[in-house]
C-alpha cells in the first residue's frame, strides 16, 4: 500500500488530524491497533471541553486548549455531535481555598481566558443549589463545556473517511522505516505502507512508536482516573461542571452532567506502570465518594449505574509536545497529550497539518471537501411525526431494542453499516448508547448479539464485546 501520510492512532487527536488533512489533496491512512476508532484515553475521560483557564501559562498546551475551545461551536454543528456550554464553577469552602481564588483568576488571565468571573457564595448557591452551603465564593468559567467524546471521535473519523481517508483498524504498527533522513514507510502486522509523512498520535503508546525512529527521549506512564456514572434519575444533580480548588498534589475530583443527562463523578489520579491496567479499585472508588461529598454533600453514589477507568498518557518529563526533527524529514511526534487532549484535538488537527506544510508537505485544498457529517437519526429525540417517518423509511426503527435509552434496531443496523462501522457490542454502545442505561445491557445485550451476528454474517460466538478475545458466548447449547 502507498499513501502520502500515515497517522498512527485513531483517538481524538489522530482522527482530528486526519480530518484536517482530508481538506488537502493528499492520500491519508489512519492506523490503529484497536478494533474501533476512539483510542484509549479518548473514550474514557471526563468529556469536558476545557477553556485552558488553569493551564500552565505560556505552554503549548495552554495555547492549543485556549485556541480549541471556541472551535467546538462549529465542529459540533458541522459534525452533529452533542455539545453543551454549561460552564464550570470552582467553589471555595475554606479560608485557605478562598485565598487562592485571586491566584487562580490571575492564572486564567495569563492564559488569556478573560471571561472567568468571581461569584459570591450566594450567587453560586443560586445557580447550583446542591452545592455545599458552606461555600464562601468561587470562580465561574462560562465557556467550560461538555461533549459526547465517543461521537466526537466517530464524527471526526467519519467526516475524514467521507473525504477519502482510509482507516486501518485492528492493525498494529510494528516499525517505521526511514532512508537518508526521510520517512519511507510504516510496517504493520497486516502489511507495509509506503509513505512520506508519519504523524505519531499514539497517545499512551507514543513513546513506543517514537522508539522505532529513535526519538523516544521521554517515556509515558499511565495515570489512572476512575469515575462513577450516576443514573439520569438521581435526585441530587448539578447544572455545571463543579470543580474542586486544586491542591499542590492534585487537580481533585469533580462532578458534572454529561450531555445525555447522567452525572459523572471523579476522577482519581494514580500513577501506574502497566499501560493495560484498566481496573477500578475499591480504594479509588471510596476516595471519590469522600472527596466529592465536600463539594456536593447530598450526592447519591448509590444511584451509580457503572464505574470506569481511563488511563491518561502522562509524559516524563512533563508537557504537551509536538516535535519535528531536523534529521528526520516527514515525521511529527505528539507526546504528553493528556487530560486536555480531547479539547486540544481540534486545535492539534490544524497545528499538526500546518507543521507538516511548513516542513514541505504539498498543500493544495480540495474543491470538493465535504464539511459536514450527519449522525445516525435518533428515534428517541425525534418528535412523533419524525418517528413515523423513520419507521416508514425503515420498519426496524419501530422496534425498540434498548429500553433504557430507547434505541431501536434500525439505529443499531445503521451503526453497523456506517462508513466507519460499529462491529462490536461496545462500538454500538458508544455510538448509540444501547446498553449504556441503567440496566447496562441486561435487557438489550442478548438482542444486540443476535443483530450483530446477523448483520456481520457470523456465528454468535464470533461477536465481540470489543477486542479480539472478548467473545460473549461460547457457541450453541447442547
Amino acid at each position: 500500500m502507498k499513501t502520502d501520510v500515515v497517522v498512527i492512532g485513531a483517538g481524538a487527536v489522530g482522527c482530528a488530524v486526519a480530518r484536517e488533512l482530508s481538506k488537502l489533496k493528499l492520500s491519508v491512512v489512519v492506523v490503529d491497533k484497536n478494533e474501533d476508532v476512539g483510542g484509549d484515553a479518548s473514550k474514557s475521560n471526563s468529556a469536558i471541553i476545557h477553556t485552558g483557564y488553569d493551564a500552565s501559562p505560556g505552554t503549548l498546551e495552554s495555547r492549543l486548549v485556549v485556541a480549541a475551545n471556541p472551535m467546538y461551536d462549529r465542529i459540533s454543528r458541522d459534525l452533529d455531535v452533542p455539545f453543551s456550554r454549561i460552564g464550570a464553577i470552582l467553589p471555595a469552602f475554606t479560608d485557605e481555598q478562598f485565598e487562592k481564588l485571586p491566584f487562580l483568576k490571575e492564572k486564567a488571565f495569563d492564559n488569556r481566558v478573560y471571561d472567568v468571573e468571581y461569584l459570591t457564595g450566594e450567587q453560586l448557591l443560586a445557580i447550583e443549589p446542591n452545592l455545599n452551603p458552606e461555600v464562601k465564593g468561587g470562580l465561574y468559567i462560562p465557556r467550560e463545556s461538555i461533549i459526547d467524546p465517543f461521537l466526537l471521535v466517530v464524527a471526526y473519523a467519519e467526516n475524514a473517511q467521507q473525504n477519502g481517508v482510509n482507516f486501518l483498524l485492528s492493525t498494529k504498527v510494528v516499525d517505521i522505516t526511514t532512508a537518508g533522513g526521510k520517512i519511507t514507510g510504516v510496517k504493520t502486522d497486516a502489511g507495509d505502507i509506503e509513505c512520506d509523512y508519519v504523524v505519531n498520535a499514539a497517545g499512551l503508546y507514543c513513546d513506543e512508536i517514537a522508539s522505532y525512529v529513535g526519538k523516544n527521549d521521554y517515556y509515558v506512564n499511565p495515570r489512572k482516573g476512575q469515575f462513577y456514572i450516576l443514573d439520569k434519575n438521581t435526585s441530587v444533580k448539578v447544572n455545571h461542571i463543579v470543580l474542586p480548588i486544586p491542591t499542590k498534589l492534585t487537580k481533585g475530583k469533580l462532578m458534572c452532567p454529561t450531555v445525555h443527562g447522567n452525572m459523572l463523578v471523579g476522577p482519581t489520579a494514580e500513577d501506574l506502570d502497566d499501560k493495560t491496567d484498566k481496573s477500578t479499585t475499591a480504594e479509588g472508588l471510596d476516595s471519590i465518594a469522600a472527596d466529592v461529598r465536600k463539594l456536593i454533600p447530598g450526592v447519591r453514589l448509590n444511584d451509580t449505574i457503572t464505574q470506569y477507568c481511563g488511563l491518561r498518557p502522562n509524559r516524563n518529563p512533563e508537557g504537551l509536545h509536538v516535535d519535528v526533527y531536523d534529521d528526520l524529514y516527514g515525521y511529527v511526534n505528539l507526546s504528553g497529550v493528556r487530560s486536555t487532549g480531547l479539547t486540544a484535538s481540534a486545535a492539534l488537527g490544524v497545528y499538526v497539518t500546518q507543521t507538516l506544510i511548513r516542513m514541505g508537505m504539498p498543500a493544495e485544498y480540495k474543491t470538493d471537501f465535504i464539511a459536514t457529517r450527519k449522525g445516525i437519526p435518533s428515534f428517541h429525540k425525534a418528535n412523533d411525526e419524525q418517528k413515523e417517518e423513520l419507521i416508514r423509511q425503515n420498519p426496524l426503527y419501530g422496534r425498540v431494542i434498548c429500553r433504557c435509552e430507547t434505541i431501536t434496531e434500525g439505529e443499531i443496523v445503521e451503526a453497523i453499516r456506517r462508513p466507519i462501522p460499529a462491529r462490536s457490542i461496545d462500538a454500538i454502545k458508544r455510538r448509540l448508547r444501547a446498553g449504556m442505561g441503567r440496566c447496562h445491557g441486561g435487557f438489550c445485550r442478548p438482542k444486540v448479539i443476535e443483530i450483530l451476528a446477523r448483520e456481520l454474517g457470523v456465528p454468535a460466538e464470533e461477536v465481540l464485546k470489543n477486542q479480539k478475545g472478548s467473545y460473549l458466548v461460547t457457541g450453541r447449547v447442547k
Binding site: 481496573s279 477500578t280 412523533d384 440496566c439 448479539i449 478475545g469 447449547v477
Partner: protein, 311 residues
C-alpha cells in the same frame, strides 16, 4: 397514526399483565388489550424452561412457557386483545403511545394497568471493582441467551447471589456442561427457596458460600477469574480471606429493581424505599386514571403493579 380504543390497556404481557387482563375482562371490562414488547406473551416465563410452575394454580407441574400458555389461552378465550412487538413509549392521561415496526400506535384507554415487571441489578449497581471484560452477565440475561437464543455463555462460572434465578441457572449451566465453581452469597442465609438449593445446588455438588462476596473481577478481554472473600457482620470483605477463583464467566443474581420509567413519565409518585409506585392498602395508585374502575366490587383483585418471583 393508528389509533385503538380500549377500556383497559395492560402494559406488559408477563404473568401479572396476563392475569390482570383476564380478570378485567371477567369483571365486565368490554375491551381489554395487552401491549407487549416481546414477540410472544408470557414475559420472563418464556425463558424459565425449568419445571415447578403451576403446582398451586393448576395442581400440576409445568414449565414456564407451558404455565404462560395456560394463562394466555384463558386471557385470549376471555376476549383479550394483544399488541406484540410493541414498546410503550409514553403513558398519557388517556392514551398510550406505542412503537411498532408498522408505525406508532396510539392506544386510548379508560384504565391502564402498569405491569412492566423488573430489571436486574447489575455489576455497576453493586460496584464490584476490577476490569470490564466480556463474560459478566445478569442471571436473567444469561437465561435468555441459553434458553431462548440457545447460546452458551461460558465454561467455568461463578455466580454471585443465591436468588432463585441464580440457583436455577447454576443447575442449567451444569446440565449444559459448564463447571459452576461456586454460588457466592453476601448474606449469612440463602436468598432463594430451600427447594432450589437442594434441587439446583446440592444435587449437583455446587458449593454455596454464605457470608462471602466477589471483591474484584480480573480479565482483560474476557473474564479470567474473580476474587472472593468472606465478609464481616457489616458486609465488609475481610481481605485476608480473599481467594482467587479462575473462571470465564460471572453471573449476577443480586436482586431486581422495578421497571418504572413509564410510571414516572406518567406522573405516578414513586416510593423511595421500594423504588416502586406509592400505592394504597388495596395496591391501587392514588391517581384515578391508573386505578382500575372496572367494577367497584372486584377492582381490588386487579393489580396495578405486581412483583413476581420465580417459584
Amino acid at each position: 397514526m393508528k389509533v385503538l380504543s380500549y377500556d383497559v390497556a395492560v402494559i406488559g404481557g408477563g404473568p401479572a399483565g396476563l392475569a390482570a387482563a383476564q380478570t378485567a375482562k371477567e369483571n365486565g371490562a368490554q375491551r381489554v388489550i395487552i401491549v407487549e414488547r416481546d414477540t410472544a406473551l408470557g414475559g420472563i416465563l418464556q425463558q424459565c424452561i425449568h419445571p415447578g410452575f403451576g403446582l398451586t394454580y393448576f395442581k400440576e407441574e409445568l414449565t414456564g412457557p407451558e404455565y404462560a400458555a395456560r394463562f394466555e389461552e384463558k386471557a385470549l378465550a376471555a376476549g383479550v386483545d394483544k399488541l406484540l412487538d410493541a414498546m410503550v413509549l409514553e403513558v398519557g392521561k388517556s392514551a398510550l403511545l406505542c412503537s411498532t415496526t408498522e408505525g406508532l400506535v396510539r392506544v386510548e384507554y379508560k384504565s391502564a394497568v402498569l405491569a412492566m415487571g423488573c430489571r436486574e441489578r447489575t455489576r455497576g449497581n453493586i460496584r464490584i471493582p476490577g476490569t470490564r471484560p466480556a463474560g459478566i452477565f445478569t442471571a436473567g440475561a444469561a437465561q435468555r441467551l441459553i434458553n431462548r437464543q440457545n447460546l452458551m455463555v461460558g465454561k467455568q462460572v461463578v455466580i454471585l447471589g443465591s436468588g432463585d434465578i441464580g440457583m436455577i441457572m447454576a443447575r442449567r449451566l451444569t446440565l449444559e456442561g459448564a463447571q459452576v465453581k461456586a454460588v457466592v452469597e453476601i448474606m449469612p442465609y440463602l436468598a432463594g427457596l430451600t427447594r432450589n438449593r437442594v434441587q439446583c445446588l446440592d444435587d449437583f455438588g455446587i458449593p454455596l458460600l454464605l457470608s462471602h462476596t466477589v471483591t474484584r473481577i480480573v480479565g482483560k478481554e474476557r473474564v479470567e477469574g474473580v476474587y472472593v472473600a468472606a465478609v464481616d457482620e457489616n458486609k465488609r470483605p475481610i481481605s485476608e480471606t480473599e481467594e482467587f477463583f479462575p473462571c470465564d464467566t460471572l453471573l449476577l443474581s443480586v436482586g431486581l429493581l422495578p421497571e418504572n420509567e413509564l410510571s414516572k413519565g406518567a406522573g405516578v409518585k414513586m416510593c423511595p424505599v421500594t423504588n416502586g409506585p406509592v400505592v394504597n392498602q388495596l395496591s391501587r395508585l392514588p391517581f384515578r386514571r391508573f386505578s382500575p374502575p372496572v367494577t367497584s366490587s372486584t377492582s381490588t383483585t386487579l393489580p396495578t403493579t405486581f412483583r413476581w418471583r420465580a417459584p
